[in-house]
């Protein structure tokens, strides 16, 4: 994917950095998802054909999934791609509803900041009680700190796009197609 044209040219260094970071994180997410598929493939084939499953493959899948979701959360937030019910868009998009849109952004920022703070506490607690994953006994605290960081960045993203508008890639609208 190429940078959208309206951000090229005289646009700020910050913006081009933001896009570079976004591309980088997207590639990492893509690799994690591919790894999940490859792992399942290898595990099933290994078990069916050779009787050798991969120990803790479920455990690895769970960790990869957590990494994908929380690597993606700031990106989805920045792209304003969260699931929304848009039946009353005409109403909400009217000029006199601007205060409501600001309030909405503040609410999203606050919720994300709260989750971030709660995951910092959760991570500290997890290291205190040696919380580890079931099969491979991977310590949980670093993962919780990663989630906290992701939520903090997402909170920041929610706040920034309230002012600048969403970071939308015109070539890829990420239409909601989960249903």
């Amino acid at each position: 994917m190429i940078s959208p044209s309206h951000f090229q040219g005289g646009e700020t260094f910050m913006l081009s950095m933001a896009w570079k970071i976004r591309r980088g994180v997207e590639t990492v997410m893509a690799l994690f998802l591919l790894a999940m598929v490859a792992l399942t493939f290898a595990d099933v084939i290994g078990r069916r054909l050779f009787g050798t499953p991969i120990y803790g493959s479920n455990d690895i899948t769970e960790h990869l999934m957590a990494l994908v979701v929380f690597a993606g959360l700031p990106l989805v937030t920045a792209a304003s791609a969260h699931l929304t019910i848009d039946i009353l868009d005409k109403l909400v998009n009217q000029p006199w509803m601007a205060w409501w849109r600001v309030l909405t952004s503040i609410l999203v920022t606050l919720v994300l900041a709260m989750i971030s703070w709660l995951f910092i506490k959760h991570g500290l607690n997890a290291s205190g009680i040696s919380e580890v994953s079931q099969a491979l006994r991977v310590p949980r605290a670093p993962l919780y700190f990663f989630m906290a960081l992701s939520c903090a960045l997402s909170a920041l993203a929610a706040l920034v796009i309230a002012a600048t508008g969403p970071m939308i890639d015109p070539e890829d609208t990420h239409e909601e197609d989960a249903l």
Partner: protein, 317 residues
């Protein structure tokens, strides 16, 4: 005072109907209705989180398995080793006494009021398609299991451990993810695994075991009136632990009878297989003594001996 209880087995499970519900009734009875317990319609978190739910006060009373948190309660691992016995009531009483004597002040148990501990009377080895009696029969077979001890045990026997909760066993056996699974006789029936686990290998002193807790949030306990605390003290502790064990002692013979009637093969492990497990047991104990010292137990060997002596005395063996 209304206390909440979070439980993660369905309301039809015997732990719910024959243990938790009677416990709530007894608490209401001895406090003359001043303290009642509501069992929430759905668990508030996954089973491994149930200790934390009580400790942090999200729910007031919870129960669960100590080793669902694989590294937190190292001091209790010894009770999940092979040869821990098959009489669940005697086991649970012995474990309570052990806990009271050696562990009640251990930091790992801070923040909660321990209402009971329990064991389940010996887990056994179950296979879907073949009889398993000798050490060779176990080799390279994939067994579902949970926790660090079962993993070590199976690996040492040359089997392939697959970590998953017991609720997943049916699906995994059907899809060939595993060849067999570790359960008590009772849970083969209670998890409806009779169709997929037809061969049962019995170790006379138990192949492995599981340790359970029933806990209450510490602050909530402290906040009860002295009168209510005294009343509740009368029905918890060793008595409640014994009640836990009795439930399993009732379930297992019924399960064995049912499985035998359905034509399942129930055999004893061969002396060679028992000897192989005994050898692994010795290494496990040696490794654990170091780990338990690290977890703040002064004399792990003395604690293990105390448990064994108490169990033997109680079980009349």
């Amino acid at each position: 005072e209304v206390l909440t209880m979070s439980s993660w087995v369905p309301p039809t499970h015997f732990i719910h109907t024959d243990f938790l519900v009677p416990l709530t009734e007894k608490i209401a009875e001895v406090t003359e209705g001043r303290v009642t317990v509501t069992i929430l319609p759905a668990p508030l978190a996954s089973p491994p989180q149930h200790w934390e739910l009580a400790r942090t006060g999200v729910a007031d009373i919870t129960w669960g398995n100590f080793t669902y948190e694989p590294e937190r309660f190292v001091s209790l691992w010894f009770a999940e080793f092979p040869n821990a016995g098959t009489n669940a009531e005697a086991q649970s009483r012995a474990l309570w006494q052990t806990y009271q004597t050696f562990l009640a002040d251990n930091a790992a148990f801070d923040g909660v009021k321990m209402l009971a501990v329990g064991m389940f009377g010996g887990g056994q080895l179950h296979h879907g398609s073949k009889s398993v009696t000798s050490p060779d029969d176990v080799k390279n077979q994939k067994f579902r299991m949970g926790g660090p001890i079962q993993e070590k045990l199976l690996s040492a026997l040359g089997a392939v451990p697959v970590a998953a909760p017991a609720t997943k066993a049916y699906e995994m056996l059907e899809s060939g993810v595993i060849d067999g699974s570790l359960h008590t006789m009772e849970s083969v029936v209670n998890f409806r695994l009779e169709d997929v686990l037809k061969y049962h290998t019995v170790f006379p002193k138990g192949f492995y075991d599981a340790t359970f807790f029933v806990v209450m949030n510490g602050a909530k306990w402290d906040g009860l009136s002295d009168q209510d605390k005294a009343a509740i003290e009368g029905i918890i502790g060793e008595e409640l632990s014994a009640a836990w064990g009795r439930n399993f002692d009732l379930q297992s013979p019924a399960a064995i009878e049912k499985l035998a009637a359905e034509g399942h093969e129930i055999v004893e492990a061969s002396p060679e297989l028992v000897a192989a497990v005994d050898t692994i047991y010795d290494t496990m104990v040696a490794d654990w003594i170091g780990a338990a010292k690290g977890a703040g137990v002064e004399d792990p060997q003395a604690m293990l001996d105390f448990y064994n002596e108490t169990y033997t005395a109680l079980a009349g063996e």
